[in-house]
């Protein structure tokens, strides 16, 4: 994986011969194994942890700022799709801080009354 943090924003991410042949990037577009640096945690995320009764980020440890269609984005497992980060948002120059922003945005998106799961829940929920 490239060391340039904006590699997947500035390029198509097709680096190897195999990727060029198939027209697809192989693997994740970010380091899925990067563990969070808790010194960079935001006040919003601290409040979320308190609310849930957790001592750390829990499932959010697996949430990272990713890149899709040359845009910064965060993957929402509940809709199996990428949520693009607003274009006006200035991205920090390091992945740890970007990951914290991605976690905040994902919480705001998932808990929003406009989230697609709200409609699906109304239509299909059994309980």
């Amino acid at each position: 994986m490239s060391n340039d943090i904006d590699h997947f924003i500035n390029t198509d991410g097709l680096d190897s011969e195999r990727e060029k042949t198939i027209g697809q990037h192989i693997g994740y577009r970010y380091d899925v194994n990067l563990v969070p640096d808790y010194e960079r945690i935001t006040p919003f995320l601290k409040k979320y942890m308190e609310t849930m009764g957790w001592d750390d980020l829990n499932w959010l440890e697996d949430v990272h700022m990713g890149y899709e269609e040359s845009r910064a984005a965060v993957f929402d497992r509940n809709i199996n799709g990428w949520v693009t980060v607003p274009e006006e948002m200035k991205l920090p120059d390091n992945q740890q801080d970007r990951d914290m922003i991605a976690r905040e945005l994902l919480i705001k998106f998932q808990m929003s009354p406009n989230h697609p799961m709200v409609e699906l829940n109304k239509a299909y929920a059994k309980f």
């Binding site: 919003f44 697996d62 269609e69 693009t84 980060v85 829940n121």
Partner: protein, 281 residues
């Protein structure tokens, strides 16, 4: 893309037009929205409001329904006595909740958990916390096979030994095993972390796509495409903090854990699949 040879076989197969990447969702929320930390339809509960269920004479469905009724009454801490190793207890809880089982669970306990903090004082059978999404689950004694199968997030802890195929198809979250683990742990895991403080059985991390496995004891042998990695300073710090949350520590310090990662020789797999599919059709 422009420099690609359009005569390549992959173009004829339509691989360049088929959507293989993720689907992008347009943004329709405000990043400056008010603080709201729970799902839109979640039940408001108070951790200080406590209730008890005697599961001994009850059927499985009735126990699970009673948990939901209590949550609707605002109860945030539920203690379940005499679970009697019944199967499928505490499943499908998508809410904040403290749930304590005083005893052991059977198969598929606490599956699909998304939010609760669960403690089990005894043992658990096969597939505990299958498809777990978030929250914490702590098992004080031993666990059966496929512990945390297809887990996607949260912390899953077994303080004793676990059977085989722990974290099979794991897609996120952290599994911690205080004792020994059987064969094929981390089989086809895609991301997330498994920490085994004791010995690990044969074929550890077989066919793992990504993710990380840490082992404190001996490893019988590694599976296909599982290779040793090096623990970074950031990981060491994270491991120390994570283990201390559950009163656990690495036998010889976190820096002496053996780290196993994917060799990534199998990474072409899902890009080959569409062409194979079309050739067959």
């Amino acid at each position: 893309m422009a420099e690609l040879n359009a005569e390549h076989e992959s173009h004829k197969l339509g691989m360049h037009t088929e959507q293989l990447a993720g689907r992008t969702q347009q943004v329709f929320f405000s990043p400056s929205a008010d603080e709201n930390f729970v799902y839109h339809d979640s039940i408001e509960v108070d951790f200080d409001k406590v209730a008890e269920i005697d599961a001994g004479p009850m059927e499985i469905t009735d126990i699970n329904l009673r948990i939901r009724e209590l949550m609707k009454e605002g109860v945030g801490t539920i203690n379940i006595k005499n679970p009697g190793a019944k199967h499928s207890l505490g499943v499908g809880i998508l809410n904040r909740l403290n749930l304590n089982f005083e005893g052991s669970l059977g198969y598929f306990g606490c599956g699909l958990a998304d939010g609760p903090n669960i403690r089990i004082s005894g043992r658990v059978g096969w597939s505990c916390a299958e498809n777990m999404m978030s929250g914490t689950i702590v098992v004080e004694k031993n666990a059966g096979s496929t512990f945390g199968a297809a887990m996607r997030g949260g912390d899953l802890v077994c303080k004793g030994d676990v059977g085989s195929r722990t974290g099979i198809d794991q897609k996120g979250g952290t599994i911690i095993v205080g004792g020994r683990a059987g064969a094929f742990n981390g089989f086809m895991m895609q991301r997330g972390r498994i920490i085994i403080l004791g010995d690990a059985g044969k074929n550890l991390g077989d066919s793992m796509y990504d993710g990380t496995i840490y082992v404190g004891g001996k490893i019988a042998d590694l599976g296909v495409d599982a290779v040793e990695g090096e623990i970074t300073e950031g990981e060491a710090k994270w491991l120390e903090a994570k283990l201390s949350l559950y009163g656990m520590e690495a036998p010889n310090g976190v820096k002496n854990l053996t780290k196993i990662v994917a060799g990534k020789q199998l990474w072409n797999y899902d890009n080959l699949e569409p062409s194979e599919k079309k050739l067959v059709l």
